[in-house]
Amino acid sequence: MKSVQVEASEVSKGSSSSQSLSRGLSVIDFILRTLASFGTLASAIAMGTTRQTLPFVTRFVRFKAVYKDLPTLTFFVIANSVVCGYLVISLPLSFFHVVKCKVTKSRIILIIFDTVMMALLTAGASSAAAIVNLAHNGNTNANWFAICRQFNSFCQRISGSLIGSFVAVVVFILLIIISAVVISRR
């Protein structure tokens, strides 16, 4: 009888240490989610408030640049806004996971949505990065002129707004990995 009781207490101690690890991972998940929501919000706002008007007129380029002129940058703003909204909505669910560590079904729903949102965010960020690269360097083979030569502050703004988005992509990778580790430990 005594050996049974000793074994029972050992089993419960093992499960509580794994539970504390799950709880720690859930807390890290919550913190990373708030970080990613700030990153995407900052990117969307930084890209959405771009506007530069040149004081002169040239032959080749229009004298006003807004993010709406390039449809890819519009997609970037929309993708970042959608992902920011998703992250804000998923914060209560993540907090629920901190409180109750043993649920797996809602964690699986969370990991599915995280994967889809990560794909959307990566698509928006990398397509905007391609356009920003084109704006900086141009392309002589396709006769595409580098508009950054004219629009300096517009260019700086659209380049800087990519940073928050890419940081959020890395954070999403970590979120997916954390959710998978917690699911597999249960």
Partner: protein
């Protein structure tokens, strides 16, 4: 003493002082389900290899030379001309190489349905590969969209009007890469479902 659905700890006769013997009984239904998921995972991986390889190959062989020349345009176009397309080619080649290397791990996961460390490793690497593939596909899609439509605000002309074959091949490569991305999402989904311990 019973703890959990699938584990039975049998305690020896009370007179002996030996430790209890733990035998793990697994319901056959759980093993069959996990094996089915692992087989679907393997088949999806094969499909993703086909998609990624075809995307890389189509982009790599997309050279086109026009039989005439005009004042403004060069008379040949290839993926070399755009750094974005070079990145696309390298990234899709890396993704297809990773997928080929992950096939043995997937086979091992079929044979041993309860190796959760292996599945977790596959899921982590799949996430990284998904990011790379999505990034390459989206960047190339942005350039292809620009090539199709041009942009009047920045005076970027639509080069697809001249280079129709090049444009078609490159667009096909982008579509194939997005198919690969969708397959990756399903792979991650399946791995997450299979990681559960009942």
């Amino acid at each position: 003493m019973k703890s959990g659905d699938s584990t039975t700890i049998e305690v020896a006769e009370p007179s002996s002082s030996s430790k209890g013997k733990a035998t793990v009984l697994v319901a056959p239904k759980a093993t069959g389900w996990k094996k089915g998921v692992a087989i679907i995972d393997f088949v999806l991986r094969l499909g993703a290899i086909v998609a990624a390889l075809s995307a890389a190959a189509t982009m790599g062989t997309s050279d086109e030379s026009l039989p005439f020349f005009t004042q403004f345009f060069q008379f040949e176009a290839s993926y070399d001309d755009m750094p974005t397309f070079q990145f696309f080619l390298i990234a899709m080649a890396l993704v297809s190489g990773y997928l080929v290397l992950s096939l043995p791990f997937s086979i091992v996961a079929i044979v041993r349905p309860h190796a959760s460390g292996l599945k977790l490793f596959l899921l982590i690497m799949d996430t990284v590969a998904l990011t790379l593939a999505t990034s390459a596909a989206a960047a190339a899609a942005a350039i292809v969209y620009l090539a199709h439509n041009g942009n009047s605000s920045s005076n970027w002309l639509a080069i697809c009007n001249q280079f129709t074959d090049f444009c078609q091949k490159v667009s096909g490569a982008v579509v194939s890469a997005f198919v690969c991305v969708v397959v990756f999402i399903f792979l991650i989904l399946l791995s997450a479902l299979a990681l559960r311990k009942h």
